[in-house]
Protein backbone atom coordinates (compact mmCIF):
# COMPACT_ATOMS: atom_id res chain seq x y z
CA UNK A 1 0.00 0.00 0.00
CA UNK A 2 1.33 3.46 -0.88
CA UNK A 3 2.60 5.41 2.05
CA UNK A 4 3.70 9.00 1.66
CA UNK A 5 5.34 9.38 5.02
CA UNK A 6 9.08 9.11 5.62
CA UNK A 7 8.51 7.21 8.86
CA UNK A 8 6.14 4.24 9.01
CA UNK A 9 5.92 2.57 12.46
CA UNK A 10 5.51 -0.80 10.70
CA UNK A 11 8.99 -0.41 9.17
CA UNK A 12 10.50 -1.08 12.58
CA UNK A 13 9.34 -4.71 12.23
CA UNK A 14 11.45 -4.95 9.07
CA UNK A 15 14.66 -3.67 10.70
CA UNK A 16 16.21 -7.13 10.47
CA UNK A 17 15.76 -7.05 6.67
CA UNK A 18 18.79 -4.73 6.30
CA UNK A 19 20.85 -7.91 6.55
CA UNK A 20 19.42 -9.13 3.22
CA UNK A 21 21.37 -6.56 1.21
CA UNK A 22 24.61 -6.90 3.16
CA UNK A 23 24.61 -10.10 5.08
CA UNK A 24 28.02 -9.95 6.75
CA UNK A 25 27.76 -6.37 8.00
CA UNK A 26 24.12 -6.76 8.99
CA UNK A 27 24.79 -9.93 10.95
CA UNK A 28 27.81 -8.41 12.67
CA UNK A 29 25.78 -5.34 13.61
CA UNK A 30 22.89 -7.36 15.10
CA UNK A 31 25.27 -9.66 16.99
CA UNK A 32 27.00 -6.60 18.43
CA UNK A 33 23.68 -4.90 19.18
CA UNK A 34 22.36 -7.95 21.00
CA UNK A 35 25.56 -8.30 23.01
CA UNK A 36 25.52 -4.63 24.05
CA UNK A 37 22.10 -4.98 25.67
CA UNK A 38 22.84 -8.13 27.67
CA UNK A 39 23.28 -7.88 31.43
CA UNK A 40 26.86 -6.90 32.15
CA UNK A 41 28.46 -4.37 34.45
CA UNK A 42 25.19 -2.50 33.84
CA UNK A 43 21.83 -4.19 34.26
CA UNK A 44 19.56 -4.61 31.22
CA UNK A 45 17.24 -2.15 32.96
CA UNK A 46 19.93 0.53 33.24
CA UNK A 47 20.87 0.01 29.60
CA UNK A 48 17.24 0.37 28.60
CA UNK A 49 17.07 3.77 30.34
CA UNK A 50 20.26 4.99 28.66
CA UNK A 51 18.92 3.80 25.28
CA UNK A 52 15.68 5.69 25.87
CA UNK A 53 17.52 8.94 26.63
CA UNK A 54 19.79 8.55 23.59
CA UNK A 55 16.78 7.71 21.38
CA UNK A 56 15.39 11.14 22.18
CA UNK A 57 18.68 12.93 21.66
CA UNK A 58 19.17 11.37 18.22
CA UNK A 59 15.44 11.99 17.61
CA UNK A 60 14.80 8.50 16.24
CA UNK A 61 11.05 7.72 16.23
CA UNK A 62 11.69 3.98 15.78
CA UNK A 63 14.07 3.96 18.75
CA UNK A 64 11.61 5.91 20.92
CA UNK A 65 8.85 3.37 20.16
CA UNK A 66 11.21 0.46 20.76
CA UNK A 67 12.73 1.70 24.00
CA UNK A 68 9.50 2.93 25.54
CA UNK A 69 8.22 -0.61 25.08
CA UNK A 70 11.52 -2.04 26.32
CA UNK A 71 11.36 0.22 29.38
CA UNK A 72 7.85 -1.05 30.21
CA UNK A 73 9.13 -4.58 29.82
CA UNK A 74 11.84 -3.87 32.38
CA UNK A 75 9.34 -2.34 34.79
CA UNK A 76 10.47 1.27 34.36
CA UNK A 77 8.03 3.84 35.72
CA UNK A 78 6.91 6.86 33.71
CA UNK A 79 8.79 9.10 36.16
CA UNK A 80 12.05 7.22 35.50
CA UNK A 81 11.45 7.39 31.76
CA UNK A 82 10.74 11.12 31.71
CA UNK A 83 13.74 11.89 33.91
CA UNK A 84 15.98 10.00 31.51
CA UNK A 85 14.63 12.15 28.63
CA UNK A 86 15.50 15.24 30.69
CA UNK A 87 19.02 13.93 31.21
CA UNK A 88 19.36 13.63 27.43
CA UNK A 89 17.84 17.07 26.91
CA UNK A 90 20.09 18.64 29.54
CA UNK A 91 23.22 17.24 27.89
CA UNK A 92 21.97 18.35 24.50
CA UNK A 93 21.16 21.90 25.63
CA UNK A 94 24.37 21.98 27.67
CA UNK A 95 26.25 21.07 24.52
CA UNK A 96 24.72 24.12 22.83
CA UNK A 97 25.25 26.45 25.77
CA UNK A 98 28.86 25.46 26.44
CA UNK A 99 29.62 26.87 22.98
CA UNK A 100 28.61 30.20 24.51
CA UNK A 101 32.09 30.22 26.03
CA UNK A 102 33.57 30.09 22.54
CA UNK A 103 31.34 33.00 21.58
CA UNK A 104 32.46 34.96 24.65
CA UNK A 105 36.13 34.21 23.89
CA UNK A 106 35.73 35.33 20.31
CA UNK A 107 33.76 38.42 21.34
CA UNK A 108 36.47 39.43 23.81
CA UNK A 109 39.24 38.81 21.30
CA UNK A 110 37.57 40.94 18.66
CA UNK A 111 36.64 43.76 21.00
CA UNK A 112 38.93 46.59 22.11
Amino acid sequence: MANNSYYDPKDLRKFGNITEWSEELGTKFFDYYGKVFEEGALTAREKSLIALAVSHVVKCPYCIDAYTKDGLKHGLTKEEMMESVHVGAAIESGATLVHGVQMMNKYDKLSM
Binding site: R13, A44, L72, K73, G75, T77
Partner: protein, 351 residues
Protein backbone atom coordinates in the same frame (compact mmCIF):
# COMPACT_ATOMS: atom_id res chain seq x y z
CA UNK B 1 -11.18 0.40 34.50
CA UNK B 2 -13.84 -2.11 33.51
CA UNK B 3 -16.84 -2.29 35.75
CA UNK B 4 -18.39 -5.37 34.17
CA UNK B 5 -17.32 -8.47 32.32
CA UNK B 6 -17.38 -8.55 28.52
CA UNK B 7 -20.08 -11.21 28.85
CA UNK B 8 -22.43 -8.95 30.83
CA UNK B 9 -21.71 -6.11 28.44
CA UNK B 10 -22.63 -8.41 25.55
CA UNK B 11 -19.36 -7.58 23.85
CA UNK B 12 -18.46 -9.42 20.66
CA UNK B 13 -15.25 -10.76 22.19
CA UNK B 14 -17.13 -12.52 24.99
CA UNK B 15 -17.74 -15.05 22.23
CA UNK B 16 -14.98 -17.69 21.94
CA UNK B 17 -15.69 -18.35 18.26
CA UNK B 18 -15.20 -14.69 17.45
CA UNK B 19 -11.86 -14.68 19.30
CA UNK B 20 -10.66 -17.73 17.39
CA UNK B 21 -11.70 -16.11 14.13
CA UNK B 22 -9.64 -13.02 14.92
CA UNK B 23 -6.66 -15.18 15.89
CA UNK B 24 -6.82 -17.00 12.54
CA UNK B 25 -7.56 -14.11 10.20
CA UNK B 26 -5.66 -10.99 9.14
CA UNK B 27 -1.91 -11.22 9.57
CA UNK B 28 -2.12 -15.01 9.90
CA UNK B 29 -4.49 -15.78 6.99
CA UNK B 30 -2.58 -13.46 4.62
CA UNK B 31 0.63 -15.29 5.64
CA UNK B 32 2.33 -12.13 6.91
CA UNK B 33 3.02 -14.21 10.02
CA UNK B 34 3.19 -18.03 10.24
CA UNK B 35 0.44 -19.83 12.16
CA UNK B 36 1.55 -21.52 15.38
CA UNK B 37 1.09 -24.94 13.78
CA UNK B 38 3.39 -23.99 10.90
CA UNK B 39 5.95 -22.54 13.28
CA UNK B 40 6.22 -25.65 15.43
CA UNK B 41 6.32 -27.81 12.29
CA UNK B 42 9.57 -26.04 11.34
CA UNK B 43 11.20 -27.51 14.42
CA UNK B 44 9.48 -30.91 14.17
CA UNK B 45 7.31 -30.27 17.23
CA UNK B 46 3.94 -30.77 15.54
CA UNK B 47 1.61 -32.21 16.73
CA UNK B 48 2.12 -31.14 20.32
CA UNK B 49 1.69 -34.16 22.60
CA UNK B 50 1.29 -34.47 26.37
CA UNK B 51 4.09 -35.85 28.56
CA UNK B 52 3.61 -37.20 32.08
CA UNK B 53 0.56 -35.66 33.76
CA UNK B 54 1.66 -33.75 36.86
CA UNK B 55 -0.94 -31.08 37.49
CA UNK B 56 -4.71 -31.05 37.63
CA UNK B 57 -5.71 -27.42 37.34
CA UNK B 58 -9.26 -26.94 38.52
CA UNK B 59 -11.12 -23.77 37.73
CA UNK B 60 -13.57 -23.30 40.61
CA UNK B 61 -15.53 -20.61 38.80
CA UNK B 62 -15.38 -17.33 36.96
CA UNK B 63 -16.70 -15.28 39.89
CA UNK B 64 -14.17 -12.80 41.23
CA UNK B 65 -14.13 -9.74 43.48
CA UNK B 66 -11.93 -7.95 40.93
CA UNK B 67 -12.41 -7.01 37.27
CA UNK B 68 -8.83 -6.90 35.96
CA UNK B 69 -8.29 -5.24 32.59
CA UNK B 70 -6.13 -8.08 31.24
CA UNK B 71 -8.14 -11.05 32.57
CA UNK B 72 -8.28 -13.93 30.08
CA UNK B 73 -11.14 -15.48 32.07
CA UNK B 74 -13.33 -12.36 31.82
CA UNK B 75 -13.94 -12.89 35.52
CA UNK B 76 -15.82 -10.54 37.82
CA UNK B 77 -18.50 -10.24 40.48
CA UNK B 78 -21.13 -10.51 37.75
CA UNK B 79 -19.99 -13.99 36.64
CA UNK B 80 -22.15 -16.65 38.24
CA UNK B 81 -20.51 -19.77 36.79
CA UNK B 82 -19.03 -21.64 39.78
CA UNK B 83 -18.27 -25.31 40.36
CA UNK B 84 -21.04 -27.25 42.11
CA UNK B 85 -20.39 -29.69 44.95
CA UNK B 86 -21.52 -32.46 42.62
CA UNK B 87 -18.79 -31.66 40.10
CA UNK B 88 -16.32 -31.37 42.97
CA UNK B 89 -17.28 -34.89 44.02
CA UNK B 90 -16.57 -36.09 40.48
CA UNK B 91 -13.18 -34.35 40.70
CA UNK B 92 -12.49 -36.09 44.02
CA UNK B 93 -13.09 -39.49 42.43
CA UNK B 94 -10.45 -38.59 39.85
CA UNK B 95 -8.08 -37.20 42.48
CA UNK B 96 -8.13 -40.57 44.26
CA UNK B 97 -6.73 -42.40 41.24
CA UNK B 98 -4.80 -39.81 39.22
CA UNK B 99 -1.03 -39.85 38.73
CA UNK B 100 -1.01 -36.06 38.97
CA UNK B 101 0.59 -34.98 42.23
CA UNK B 102 -0.40 -31.31 42.23
CA UNK B 103 -3.84 -29.80 42.53
CA UNK B 104 -3.86 -26.25 41.22
CA UNK B 105 -6.94 -24.14 42.03
CA UNK B 106 -7.77 -21.17 39.89
CA UNK B 107 -10.76 -18.99 39.00
CA UNK B 108 -12.00 -16.29 39.19
CA UNK B 109 -11.26 -16.07 42.85
CA UNK B 110 -11.32 -19.76 43.83
CA UNK B 111 -11.98 -18.80 47.46
CA UNK B 112 -15.36 -17.30 46.50
CA UNK B 113 -16.73 -20.75 45.76
CA UNK B 114 -18.77 -21.55 48.91
CA UNK B 115 -17.46 -25.14 48.89
CA UNK B 116 -13.82 -24.17 48.46
CA UNK B 117 -12.68 -25.13 51.97
CA UNK B 118 -14.69 -28.34 51.94
CA UNK B 119 -13.11 -29.29 48.63
CA UNK B 120 -9.56 -28.65 49.90
CA UNK B 121 -10.29 -30.67 53.05
CA UNK B 122 -11.66 -33.60 51.02
CA UNK B 123 -8.83 -33.51 48.48
CA UNK B 124 -6.39 -33.53 51.36
CA UNK B 125 -8.12 -36.62 52.79
CA UNK B 126 -7.87 -38.18 49.33
CA UNK B 127 -4.10 -37.90 49.56
CA UNK B 128 -3.19 -34.67 47.80
CA UNK B 129 -0.24 -32.99 49.49
CA UNK B 130 0.74 -30.44 46.90
CA UNK B 131 -1.92 -27.72 46.65
CA UNK B 132 -1.58 -24.48 44.76
CA UNK B 133 -4.10 -21.68 45.09
CA UNK B 134 -4.00 -18.81 42.64
CA UNK B 135 -5.17 -16.11 44.98
CA UNK B 136 -5.69 -12.51 43.96
CA UNK B 137 -4.70 -11.40 47.52
CA UNK B 138 -7.46 -8.80 47.91
CA UNK B 139 -10.01 -11.56 48.55
CA UNK B 140 -8.32 -12.17 51.91
CA UNK B 141 -9.29 -8.62 52.93
CA UNK B 142 -12.57 -8.40 50.96
CA UNK B 143 -14.90 -9.65 53.66
CA UNK B 144 -14.64 -10.87 57.27
CA UNK B 145 -15.56 -14.39 56.21
CA UNK B 146 -12.23 -14.59 54.34
CA UNK B 147 -10.02 -13.24 57.15
CA UNK B 148 -9.14 -16.76 58.30
CA UNK B 149 -7.87 -17.84 54.87
CA UNK B 150 -4.16 -17.44 55.78
CA UNK B 151 -4.63 -19.85 58.72
CA UNK B 152 -6.67 -22.22 56.57
CA UNK B 153 -3.96 -22.25 53.87
CA UNK B 154 -1.37 -22.85 56.54
CA UNK B 155 -3.26 -25.86 57.95
CA UNK B 156 -3.03 -27.59 54.54
CA UNK B 157 0.38 -26.18 53.62
CA UNK B 158 -1.22 -24.67 50.51
CA UNK B 159 1.26 -23.06 48.14
CA UNK B 160 -0.01 -19.54 47.42
CA UNK B 161 0.60 -17.91 44.07
CA UNK B 162 -0.56 -14.32 43.94
CA UNK B 163 -0.80 -11.77 41.19
CA UNK B 164 1.06 -8.51 41.56
CA UNK B 165 1.62 -6.48 38.41
CA UNK B 166 4.09 -3.95 39.86
CA UNK B 167 5.78 -2.83 43.05
CA UNK B 168 4.20 0.62 42.70
CA UNK B 169 0.62 1.60 43.47
CA UNK B 170 -0.02 3.42 40.16
CA UNK B 171 0.74 0.55 37.82
CA UNK B 172 -1.00 -2.03 40.01
CA UNK B 173 -4.26 -0.11 40.37
CA UNK B 174 -4.38 0.72 36.67
CA UNK B 175 -4.44 -2.97 35.77
CA UNK B 176 -6.41 -4.38 38.68
CA UNK B 177 -8.61 -1.56 39.98
CA UNK B 178 -8.44 1.30 42.47
CA UNK B 179 -7.28 0.32 45.92
CA UNK B 180 -6.03 -3.11 44.85
CA UNK B 181 -2.40 -2.25 45.62
CA UNK B 182 -3.04 -1.22 49.23
CA UNK B 183 -5.28 -4.24 49.88
CA UNK B 184 -2.70 -6.57 48.30
CA UNK B 185 0.05 -5.11 50.50
CA UNK B 186 -2.11 -5.63 53.56
CA UNK B 187 -2.87 -9.23 52.51
CA UNK B 188 0.82 -9.98 51.93
CA UNK B 189 1.61 -8.64 55.40
CA UNK B 190 -1.10 -10.90 56.88
CA UNK B 191 0.38 -13.89 55.05
CA UNK B 192 3.89 -13.01 56.26
CA UNK B 193 2.51 -12.83 59.80
CA UNK B 194 1.46 -16.51 59.76
CA UNK B 195 4.80 -17.47 58.24
CA UNK B 196 4.05 -17.42 54.49
CA UNK B 197 6.88 -16.21 52.25
CA UNK B 198 9.37 -15.77 55.08
CA UNK B 199 12.97 -16.74 54.34
CA UNK B 200 13.46 -20.50 54.99
CA UNK B 201 9.73 -20.99 55.63
CA UNK B 202 8.06 -24.08 54.11
CA UNK B 203 4.90 -22.05 53.60
CA UNK B 204 5.40 -21.06 50.00
CA UNK B 205 4.29 -17.63 48.84
CA UNK B 206 5.16 -16.74 45.25
CA UNK B 207 4.14 -13.72 43.24
CA UNK B 208 3.00 -13.69 39.65
CA UNK B 209 3.75 -10.74 37.42
CA UNK B 210 1.71 -9.95 34.29
CA UNK B 211 2.74 -6.94 32.21
CA UNK B 212 0.18 -4.14 32.50
CA UNK B 213 -0.08 -3.45 28.80
CA UNK B 214 0.90 -4.52 25.29
CA UNK B 215 4.44 -5.59 26.04
CA UNK B 216 6.23 -8.76 27.06
CA UNK B 217 7.57 -9.41 30.56
CA UNK B 218 11.21 -8.63 31.29
CA UNK B 219 13.76 -11.07 32.63
CA UNK B 220 12.24 -13.10 35.49
CA UNK B 221 15.27 -12.95 37.78
CA UNK B 222 15.85 -9.23 37.47
CA UNK B 223 12.13 -8.50 37.93
CA UNK B 224 12.26 -10.63 41.07
CA UNK B 225 15.20 -8.62 42.41
CA UNK B 226 13.33 -5.35 41.81
CA UNK B 227 10.12 -6.65 43.43
CA UNK B 228 11.98 -8.05 46.43
CA UNK B 229 13.97 -4.90 47.06
CA UNK B 230 11.00 -2.54 46.74
CA UNK B 231 8.46 -4.62 48.69
CA UNK B 232 10.93 -5.21 51.52
CA UNK B 233 12.19 -1.63 51.74
CA UNK B 234 8.79 0.02 51.37
CA UNK B 235 6.53 -2.42 53.23
CA UNK B 236 8.69 -4.99 55.02
CA UNK B 237 7.17 -7.75 52.83
CA UNK B 238 8.87 -11.08 52.12
CA UNK B 239 7.99 -13.56 49.40
CA UNK B 240 9.79 -16.51 47.80
CA UNK B 241 9.78 -16.35 44.01
CA UNK B 242 8.43 -14.10 41.33
CA UNK B 243 7.05 -15.71 38.19
CA UNK B 244 6.65 -13.70 35.01
CA UNK B 245 3.66 -14.61 32.86
CA UNK B 246 3.02 -13.36 29.34
CA UNK B 247 -0.46 -12.04 28.63
CA UNK B 248 -2.14 -14.20 26.01
CA UNK B 249 -4.35 -12.61 23.36
CA UNK B 250 -7.56 -14.05 24.81
CA UNK B 251 -10.77 -12.43 26.09
CA UNK B 252 -10.27 -9.03 27.78
CA UNK B 253 -6.61 -8.77 26.86
CA UNK B 254 -7.45 -9.45 23.21
CA UNK B 255 -10.25 -6.87 23.44
CA UNK B 256 -7.76 -4.35 24.85
CA UNK B 257 -5.16 -5.11 22.15
CA UNK B 258 -7.69 -4.51 19.39
CA UNK B 259 -9.28 -1.41 20.95
CA UNK B 260 -5.86 0.18 21.54
CA UNK B 261 -4.61 -0.73 18.04
CA UNK B 262 -1.82 -2.83 19.51
CA UNK B 263 -2.94 -6.26 18.29
CA UNK B 264 -0.69 -6.62 15.23
CA UNK B 265 2.40 -5.26 16.96
CA UNK B 266 1.81 -7.53 19.94
CA UNK B 267 1.45 -10.62 17.73
CA UNK B 268 4.65 -9.62 15.91
CA UNK B 269 6.42 -9.34 19.30
CA UNK B 270 5.22 -12.82 20.28
CA UNK B 271 6.18 -14.41 16.96
CA UNK B 272 9.59 -12.63 16.88
CA UNK B 273 10.31 -13.91 20.38
CA UNK B 274 9.28 -17.50 19.50
CA UNK B 275 11.55 -19.96 21.28
CA UNK B 276 11.40 -23.66 20.30
CA UNK B 277 12.98 -24.59 23.65
CA UNK B 278 9.94 -23.15 25.41
CA UNK B 279 7.67 -25.39 23.29
CA UNK B 280 9.26 -28.43 24.95
CA UNK B 281 7.92 -27.44 28.36
CA UNK B 282 4.67 -25.60 27.75
CA UNK B 283 2.25 -26.33 30.58
CA UNK B 284 -0.31 -28.13 28.42
CA UNK B 285 2.23 -30.98 28.23
CA UNK B 286 1.90 -31.77 31.95
CA UNK B 287 -1.45 -30.26 32.94
CA UNK B 288 -5.14 -30.95 32.47
CA UNK B 289 -7.49 -28.05 32.98
CA UNK B 290 -10.96 -28.74 34.41
CA UNK B 291 -13.67 -26.13 34.02
CA UNK B 292 -16.28 -25.19 36.64
CA UNK B 293 -18.76 -27.45 34.88
CA UNK B 294 -16.38 -30.38 34.61
CA UNK B 295 -15.19 -30.21 30.98
CA UNK B 296 -11.56 -31.01 30.23
CA UNK B 297 -9.15 -28.76 28.39
CA UNK B 298 -5.44 -28.64 27.50
CA UNK B 299 -5.06 -25.42 29.49
CA UNK B 300 -7.03 -22.59 31.09
CA UNK B 301 -6.72 -20.50 27.90
CA UNK B 302 -8.19 -23.25 25.73
CA UNK B 303 -10.94 -23.47 28.36
CA UNK B 304 -11.80 -19.81 27.79
CA UNK B 305 -11.72 -20.39 24.02
CA UNK B 306 -14.02 -23.41 24.52
CA UNK B 307 -11.53 -25.76 22.84
CA UNK B 308 -12.14 -29.06 24.65
CA UNK B 309 -9.47 -31.79 24.66
CA UNK B 310 -9.26 -33.75 21.41
CA UNK B 311 -10.15 -37.04 23.08
CA UNK B 312 -13.07 -39.43 23.38
CA UNK B 313 -13.08 -38.37 27.01
CA UNK B 314 -14.02 -34.74 27.42
CA UNK B 315 -15.71 -34.62 30.84
CA UNK B 316 -14.46 -35.28 34.36
CA UNK B 317 -17.35 -37.71 34.95
CA UNK B 318 -15.91 -40.12 32.36
CA UNK B 319 -12.23 -39.46 33.19
CA UNK B 320 -9.69 -42.00 31.98
CA UNK B 321 -6.13 -40.79 32.30
CA UNK B 322 -4.59 -43.19 29.83
CA UNK B 323 -7.06 -42.26 27.10
CA UNK B 324 -6.79 -38.56 27.81
CA UNK B 325 -3.02 -38.55 27.80
CA UNK B 326 -3.08 -40.14 24.36
CA UNK B 327 -4.18 -37.02 22.51
CA UNK B 328 -2.94 -34.17 20.37
CA UNK B 329 -2.98 -30.79 22.10
CA UNK B 330 -5.22 -28.23 20.44
CA UNK B 331 -3.34 -25.13 19.34
CA UNK B 332 -4.05 -21.75 17.80
CA UNK B 333 -2.19 -18.47 17.52
CA UNK B 334 -2.71 -17.58 21.21
CA UNK B 335 -0.18 -20.36 21.95
CA UNK B 336 2.61 -18.00 20.83
CA UNK B 337 2.10 -16.35 24.23
CA UNK B 338 3.49 -19.43 26.00
CA UNK B 339 6.51 -19.80 23.72
CA UNK B 340 7.82 -16.23 23.57
CA UNK B 341 11.27 -15.55 24.98
CA UNK B 342 11.90 -17.63 28.08
CA UNK B 343 8.37 -19.01 27.71
CA UNK B 344 5.38 -18.62 29.97
CA UNK B 345 3.25 -20.91 32.09
CA UNK B 346 1.32 -20.81 35.33
CA UNK B 347 4.72 -21.57 36.91
CA UNK B 348 6.47 -18.70 35.15
CA UNK B 349 9.18 -19.13 32.53
CA UNK B 350 9.84 -22.59 31.08
CA UNK B 351 13.06 -22.26 29.05
Amino acid sequence: MLAKSLKTQNKELANAKKQLEILSNGIFSNKELPTFARKIMETGQFPLRPKKLEVLQINLGYMCNQVCAHCHVDAGPDRKEIMSQETMKQCLEVIKKTNASTLDFTGGAPEMNPNFKWFVDEASKAGIKDFIVRSNLTIIRANKKYYDLPEFYKSHNVHIMSSMPHWTRGKTDKQRGDGVFDKSIKALQELNKVGYGMPDSDLKLDLVYNPSGAFLPGDQDSMERNFKKSLLEDFGIHFHKLFTITNLPVSRFLDYLIASDNYEDYMYSLVDAYNPLAVENVMCTNTISVSWDGWLYDCDFNQMLKLKVASKITHISEYNEELINNRNIIISQHCYGCTAGAGSSCQGTVA
